[in-house]
């Protein structure tokens, strides 16, 4: 086992440089350390100017997503030991504008997320006196997988379509739309379909499938999008081809 490991970190200091540059750091190698622990070591002991996001350190908050050796991962869930020996390259997630060092801008995603109404839409709220909206375990199972999304942006970073066509709403936002579509308490399916059946919605996806491959919580956004395509097609057949199927 080596005593140290070299981290090559992409730096971007807009006040100093016009573009990103690589900086090497030698950190102690400890088998129980994640990549995030190594970054924290750099921040605490070697270079306090290094900027990156992190919060929970246990794969829940979704804020420490970065490219490690070119792969989008949560740095709090990637052991140094699992990576090939030699230097480890750490970059900000691909496909997003970089603000500083490893920090990228999330505004585009947040705007897109808002468009799919990621909340329970009700035509009419029932009075509080009527009690809770109850669900059976089967009804919960319908959408639970999609509710595991932690907005870590790894799926966007793995999606070449989002990089090539930045107007694409993207995997996580569509998976989250499905999370509410499949919820028995929701009544906003049609409103979301109107947004997502546009060209920048589900039809921009060409099913590369990498969004699901990198997802740390097994949400499977690729499946969510393909299911959406099927239901959008059936919806179109019902409303257009079959005159009696019109809404």
């Amino acid at each position: 086992m080596p005593d140290t490991v070299t981290l090559e970190v992409q730096r971007y200091r807009p006040e100093e440089e016009t573009g990103p540059a690589w900086q090497r750091y030698e950190v102690p190698f400890r088998p129980e350390w994640m990549v995030l622990d190594a970054l924290n070591y750099i921040k605490d002991h070697l270079d306090g100017t290094l900027s990156y996001r992190w919060a929970c350190r246990m794969g829940v908050c979704g804020s420490c997503g970065m490219l490690v050796n070119g792969e989008p991962v949560l740095t709090c869930a990637t052991y140094l030991e699992e990576l090939p020996h030699g230097s480890i390259r750490v970059e900000p997630l691909r496909g997003f504008p970089v603000i500083r060092d490893l920090i990228f801008d999330l505004t585009d995603f947040l705007n897109k997320l808002k468009r799919v109404s990621p909340w329970l839409v009700r035509k009419k709220e029932q009075p509080v006196a009527d009690g809770e909206y109850r669900q059976t375990p089967d009804q919960l199972a319908e959408y639970k997988q999609y509710s595991m999304c932690i907005n870590c942006m790894l799926c966007y970073s793995a999606c070449p379509i989002y990089e090539l066509e930045p107007e694409f709403i993207g995997p996580a936002a569509i998976a989250l739309a499905q999370r509410y579509n499949h919820d028995s308490r929701d009544e906003g399916v049609q409103a979301r379909m109107d947004v997502l059946s546009q060209h920048d919605g589900i039809w921009a996806c060409t099913f590369v499938g990498e969004c699901s491959a990198v997802c740390p919580t097994n949400v499977d956004p690729a499946a969510a999008i393909q299911r959406y395509k099927l239901s959008a097609t059936l919806d179109w057949v019902k409303s257009t081809v079959l005159p009696w199927g019109k809404r």
Binding site: P14, P97, V98, I99, F207, A223, R227, L230
Partner: protein
Amino acid sequence: MNPDYRPYHPKWHRTPIPIFWWVRKRAYLKFTARELTSLFVAYSAVLLMVHVRAAGGSEEAYERFISWLQSPLVVALHVVVFIALLCHTVTWLNLAPKAMVIRLGGRRLPDAAIVLGHYAAWLSVSGLLAWVLVGT
């Protein structure tokens, strides 16, 4: 110092997308290769239409078309087309469970059953066509 930098005004860096983005990862390369098999699907559709048109024309024109089909270069091309079509079809059918969730008696049908159903339908239609074309 960066002369373009103004304090308190964010200056984002956007990495341009390389033209060879599809060789960055094996998965992207596989995806691109599969997308390219669509060209062979389009070619076979056009070939079928040309074949039907030739069958509706004069006997001499049809013979000419058939002898073109039998030339070694075209046969070699069509072997490649056939392999590409098989790849396209198999990958398409294997992905079917991603899009389809079928419930029977309240239980979700396993992915393997959906894939097998698609293969069964594909073989049945192919068998029927083969019977119509060769058997009659």
